[in-house]
């Protein structure tokens, strides 16, 4: 049992949203138990359905039995409950900026990637263009900094880095390479991967690719 109480994460290995929570907990040195939801397309566990009746999705964090849903909200909660080391910026204005970009990432990145790897037939040029444009906007937000928050790895890095485990898949279907079209993002990714908290939980991009192939077959997009 961790110092902060009983912590359980309802998880799926390939979900970038679950990975966000795992990184945040690791950064805080908080111990937790993982319960894998293996069958997200079929039978969801009773615990998942009762803990997240509204969305019925992972991740769900159960802190002393009380459920928290939506990964960005969970990461905020983790930061507020275990304040050290801080993940969100200390300045109120910078916190608002971090939330803005987290919202941008949540609204744009996964769907734009999905439009590429789950595309039936030839991937539309507009889909590729949109995805690259989104990455370029994030490059703008990063600027010359090592991490989105500045010198230290933090909230916004945690929100984005798990989604990059899907980039290999997106590159294979899209026919482009992130390191060529967005070198700063690529460099930032490498910097994040040097952190043990990230490297330990990010899935092997090849395995994500195999998973995507399986989904495509399941959905009849082949």
């Amino acid at each position: 049992m961790s110092k902060g109480g009983e912590i359980v994460l309802l998880d799926c290995w390939v979900s970038p949203f679950c990975i966000r929570v795992k990184i945040a907990l690791a950064e805080k040195g908080v111990e937790y138990e993982t319960r894998a939801e293996e069958d997200l397309f079929g039978d969801k566990s009773d615990l998942l359905l009762t803990s997240n009746p509204i969305h019925k999705k992972v991740p769900v964090l159960l802190h002393n039995g009380k459920p928290l849903c939506e990964s960005t909200i969970i990461v905020n909660y983790i930061d507020e409950t275990w304040p050290s080391p801080p993940l969100l910026p200390t300045s109120t204005y910078n916190r608002a900026q971090a939330r803005f970009w987290a919202d941008f990432i949540d609204k744009k990145v996964f769907d734009a990637g999905h439009n590429i790897w789950a595309s039936k037939g030839v991937v539309p040029e507009t889909a590729k263009k949109d995805f690259i444009e989104i990455l370029k906007q994030l490059e703008g937000a990063l600027g010359e900094k090592d991490f989105f928050g500045g010198d230290s790895f933090g909230f916004l890095d945690i929100i984005l880095i798990p989604l990059t485990s899907w980039f290999y898949t997106i590159e294979k279907f899209g026919g482009f390479e992130v390191k060529e079209v967005c070198p700063k993002i690529s460099a930032w990714m490498n910097r994040c991967m040097e952190r043990e908290t990230v490297a330990k939980v990010l899935p092997d991009p090849e395995k994500v690719y195999e998973f995507a192939i399986m989904i495509r077959k399941m959905l009849g997009i082949e």
């Binding site: 928290l68 909200i73 204005y93």
Partner: protein, 219 residues
Amino acid sequence: MAEEVVLLDFWPSMFGVRVRIVLVEKGIEYEYREEDLRNKSSLLLQMNPVHKQIPVLIQNGKPVCESSIIVQYIDEVWHDKAPLLPSDPYQRAQARFWVDFIDKKLYNPSRRIWSTKGEELEAAKKEFIEVLKVLEEQLKDKPFFGGETFGYVDVCLIGYYCWFYAYETFGNFSIEAECPQIIAWAKRCTQKESVSKSLPDGKKVFGFVQELRKKFVVD
């Protein structure tokens, strides 16, 4: 705090209303600037280059975008008056969850109610009422979503209330018949000065939507 606060907004926007309410709650003086969304100002495009949308709060020249983020920002900066978010982290996470739910689930069907017909309209109404019923269940017998006091979730939902007359008229249904507790809650909110000062008149919104429909729907 003698700082320059400017709000770029559009009068019928249920998102702009959120910010207007909070600024009154906190007693903050600010300059309101109406945007013509068909002809956006260079200031708006400069302050919100990513989404090019209102509302935008500009404090001493620095912009904050996205209404729910602006509300949280104002609550944190002017934290000593009328706190909106709960102080307990778990309650805060719950409040954020419900605002996220409202943002993800309510806007889309509400828009389809005034902009579609026939089967599409019926589907939109059904979805809209379902979302309100979930929120009603959350409210239970509390006066506000925040409990005894008006809070973050109340601020983020009440802006839709001034659009209800338009939805009911174009959708030909009664929201009160389906969700009486939501209507009772909304009326309770409008008794607050910050809300009554900030919410545009429902008939005026109806007139605005009537004009919009001419572009989207053949009556």
